[in-house]
Structures are given as structure tokens and as C-alpha cells.
Subunit: 371 residues, 2 copies
Amino acid sequence: MAVEQVLHMNGGEGDTSYANNSTFQRMVMLTAKHIVEDSIMRLYCANIPNCLIVADLGCSSGPNALLVATNIINTIDALSQTMSHEPPVFQFFLNDLFGNDFNTTFKSLPDFHRRLQQDKGNKFGPCFFSGTPGSFYGRLFPNNSIHFFHSSFSLHWLSKTPDVLQDTEKPLNKGAIYLTRTSPPEVHKAYFAQFQHDFTLFLKSRSCELLSGGAMVLTLIGRDELNELINAWVVIGMALNDMAAEELIEQTKLDSFNIPSYCPTSNEIRQVIEEEGSFHVQRLETIRTDWIKNIDVSDDYSLNNVDGIEDTRAEAVAKYIRAVAEPILKSEFGEIIMDELFIRFKNKIVQLYGVEKLELANLVMHITKRT
Amino acid sequence: MAVEQVLHMNGGEGDTSYANNSTFQRMVMLTAKHIVEDSIMRLYCANIPNCLIVADLGCSSGPNALLVATNIINTIDALSQTMSHEPPVFQFFLNDLFGNDFNTTFKSLPDFHRRLQQDKGNKFGPCFFSGTPGSFYGRLFPNNSIHFFHSSFSLHWLSKTPDVLQDTEKPLNKGAIYLTRTSPPEVHKAYFAQFQHDFTLFLKSRSCELLSGGAMVLTLIGRDELNELINAWVVIGMALNDMAAEELIEQTKLDSFNIPSYCPTSNEIRQVIEEEGSFHVQRLETIRTDWIKNIDVSDDYSLNNVDGIEDTRAEAVAKYIRAVAEPILKSEFGEIIMDELFIRFKNKIVQLYGVEKLELANLVMHITKRT
């Protein structure tokens, strides 16, 4: 599967769009905020550039696409004031795959600039934005041209599903679309090999593009060592398996389909970084989040503890997951089954909640380019 | 009128899209091709940068958006071979207003890269693309960050309609939407003052952004000194005037509406460049083109001489002009009259052809940053 062609969040600004269904990703970004702040302050103080050049990789579209920029601007603005220093000029590059909806983000920029002007006044320097389409598993920028890379919720996407997992003759991962507790060891091996290949390419590319003294903060969905946490792909797999049993989708199609996504453990991440050799790990943390409780059911965050799970919440979860998962599932199983699939997904959530650990292990790392 | 909000070509890839109706602009770009080639060769030989950074301002969307990049890559590639020199890395920035359809252009990049790879093979270095939304009548890039600016068919758009031409109480330019032969001198004065203001801001911004030794090639629709050529805005004005007489649109609305576009003479251009002072004029040429004959009526160019004008050609002209003019006219007069307006426009073309000079004076200039 050519991931570059089918992987994108739901575009536009409608009810099922990623733009309107991404407060969970926002919440994770906020959880990692202190690490971004800390690393950008260190980088700024060590280099004091006139123009700070930042690229956000896998920015997607909608409000989250500008969240990192806001965070970095606020941090450096406050720091400049403390240091009685002119704030730098900012240049932000927003990256995502060629099929991403950049138009929606670009249209929101005039408002963004207006708010910046209101908040910071005229003392604040210009802030330039560009969108850079392309896969981050390859080069995106010229050599030595970026100070700081950020990526949130993107690096668990692989460049493709491992070849051996697409074999229709000898399907390795029957009845599932991702690594589950019952998947044979070959499935894990194949997924990890692909991750190793892709993440190595990512690190090599970024190390060429980073200026000396440059750094990255990367957040991705990881896995605990015991593989006891259940993510959305596992639950979607269960729903698809039921649908195959009822002959609503073809069993052979399900058996040979696997999501091009891998959630590594923190040890696996560390191993790949060390083997590649261009970066120092300054910090690597795992932040566990309940992906049911932390879904926003209204306009404000509802983080209150609930024992069971009400229907509204399960529905909200289904909608949020659909914004991310629909394009890729649609390309494989057809648009016609999408409504049914996400109703079943919702029901699975209600069944599993409180019984299984519906949690994510978010890996957040701050790594710096070796000199 | 906030031009930034309403000015964009028809988006997408449909029948009325700019992407499918822009071969005329392409033809003008090809007419100016030798000037782009000459200037980029001079710039490259004088600087020999490892990475050549180019920005195309007002790129719009569709096939034309990548035409300049192709042209520049081919020129420098051939030059490098002659010089037995490694070709440089290229970084292209595609700029247009926030509402431009960047998505369509970005989606065409994988094919573009594939063709480049086929044509040039592995010897050819990487070529990076970014989209930079925003008005070029202001800053778009950090200081000293671009080698070469290109702009084709964009700088005749003003940042806004001059204030005095929007006066509903005392409309200066009754029954027309642009400068015509019968417009009073105040109309010309107001239009030129706005152009002076905008183009000065453009030059100031670009001179900050250009690296030392940097250059620009700009093509825009100009005017001959005698104002004897008739452009599409004048003809649309005639059609709207007829519609106002038949009460299909409000006369007062027409009287106070003027297109935020000005076509300067080459002397006016030279005057503004000299007054602003950052640039040397290396070359300034006027290329007259018949905007009826040079419209593409089939897939290939039909530049054969015709005495009259057949209906197909007039229809093709109406479609091409509509792709550019519709968004801004729609925002003023409503979508409902658009079909009728462009039927009348087509009929006007048939009447005027052979009687009036339906020609454009394209101004092409090569200007370099003063040291």
C-alpha cells in the first residue's frame, strides 16, 4: 500500500473532519508542552539566532497545526523579556504528506497573525509560515537549514505496511489489523523491522537538515513492554473481525490487511536512536493516557473520573478515531461499510471499558544533534 | 474591499477551475521564458550557491504553478553540464494569497518529482518545495533568505480598490469597473497612487528578503501610453453596464465598484522602481499579445490568424476569463448573475473583435538588488 497516497486525516472543517475532532491530540500535545518549552529555551539560549527556524512534522490541519507555533512563540517571547533581548524573527515550516489539507490551515493564518498582534503588540517581530508537503521518511529541507524539529502523533505511522504482512497467500496476522496479544512473533518482528528502517531514515534526514546545535522534540504513540494496553487499531480489528464473520467484509481481505502503523516501546526507540548515531537522547519519557476518558465530549475538557462509560462519550470516541482512521480504512474496505464499522467500534468500547486497559503509552523525547 | 479575502482564481480541478483554464497565462510565461533563463543564468554564475533558493509570487494553482520551477531547473541543469559542475540543490517557495488552492498543487508534486527523476536521473540533486501563503504587499520571508523572485500575471492586482473609487455617494467611475478611455483623470490618478503605494511596498519587502546579488523577473499586464488597448475588465464593465440598464444588477452597485487591479505603463513602472531605489532595471520590455487569438481552443495552441472570431473561440475566452474573474465579481454582484454575465461577455467579444484592439501589453522586467 502506498501510504503517501492514502494516509491523511479527514480534511475540511465538517462534522467528521480532523480539524473538528482532534482535541485528544491537542491534549497529548499539552501534556508534552513542558518538554517542548524546556528544549526550545535551551536551544535558543545556546544559539541566540536572529531568525529561529522551526519545522513541525506531521502537522495535519485544523487548530492543532498552529499549536506548537503558539507555544514556541510564547516561550521565546517570555524568555526574551526576561533577558531584555529583542525577540527573534520566527520562520515555521508546517509539514505533512502531499494529500494533507493545507488550505484549511493557511486560511486560519490571518486570524492567527491578528491574535499575535493583539497579544504581543508591535514589539514582536514578524513570524513567517510555509507549508512543506512530503514524507518525513526522506529529505524535506536543504542541509543545515532548521534549528528545531517538532513532531507529535505522527511517527507511529510507517512508510508502508511491512511486505510480509500483505501476503494474501500466507496471512500472518489473521483476523487482526495490528499487533495484538495473540499475534505470532513474526508479526512483531516484521513491524519492528519496518519501524527501524523508517525511523532510521527519519533520523538521518533530520540530522542533515538540522543546523549545528539543533534539537528535536518527538511525541508518538508507544507500547508498554508487556503489550497490555489496547489501542484503537486493536478495537477496530475486533469490529472488523465480527463483520468478516457475518460476511459483511471479505475474511481474506481482513487477514492480509494490516495498518501501516507501529507503536514502539521506549527501549526500541532508544535502540534505533543509538544505532543510527546522529543524536543524543536528552530525555525520553512515557506518559500514559486513557484514550476514552480524555476524549472531549463537549467544548471543554471533561477529565472527570467515571466508572462506566456513557453512550455520548463512546460516540465521541468513535467520531475522533474515525477522523484519523477513515481515509485509510475506506481505501481498503470501501466507504459503504464505514458507518456500520464505527457503530460497532463504539459498542466494543462500551463493552471493553473497565475490563481492558484502553490506554496509550505516549513516548516523548528530546534529542539533540551530536556535534 | 479586503482583497486578500476574495481574490483567488477558481480552485479545484473542475471545468471552470483556473487549473484547467490557464493556458493563456502559460503562453505569456513562455513568452517571457528567455528573460527568466538569462537572468537565472547570470545570477547562478555570479554566486554559484550550493542551494539555489527561488520564490514564485502569485503562483496560483494548477500546472502553471510548477512551470517556473521546471524552467529554472532545466536551465541550471544544462548550465551545470556545460560548466562540468555539480548541479545545486533547489529550494522553491510557491506563494499566493491565503485563500489560494495550494492543495491541488501539492498533490501534483509526487508526479513532478517522478518526471524529474526520469528526465535527469540520479545525478540530479534534491529539489524542495514549500508553499508560503500571504500577500506579497508585505513580508513573506526572513531577511536575506532568497536568491531569486519570480512573479507572473499577479502584480497588476492591487492590495485594495482605491478608497475614492469605492465612494457610493460620489461615484467617480460610473458605469465601468476599471479605467476606460472615458474615465475622468481622477480615476487614473487614484489607481496609479494605489499602484505606487503597493508596488513600492513590494519592492521594499523583496529587497529585504533577497540575498546580496539577488534578482527578480516580474511579468504583469501593463497599458500602452495611449490607453488604446482594451482588456477583459473593460469588456466585463460593458456587459455589466448593459445589465444595470436592464435592471438585472443595481446601477449604484456598479457605479461604486471598481476592480482592485491596475495595469501600469512601462514609464510608470520605471518611475516607481527608481523612486523606491533598491533595484537596478536591467531590462524592461513590453510584449503585446492578442488575448483572443492566443486563447487555447483545444488542447494544443491555436495561434493561426483568423479575421473574424468563431463562437468556440469566444466561448473559450469567456471560460478562461471567468476562471480568473468570477470569485471577485461573485463577491460583489452575487453568484446568480454569473452565467448571464459571461454569456453577455462572450457576445461583446464577438462584436468587438476586429473593431477594437483586444490586446494586452505584457510588461516583463529583470531587476537586480543594488549593493
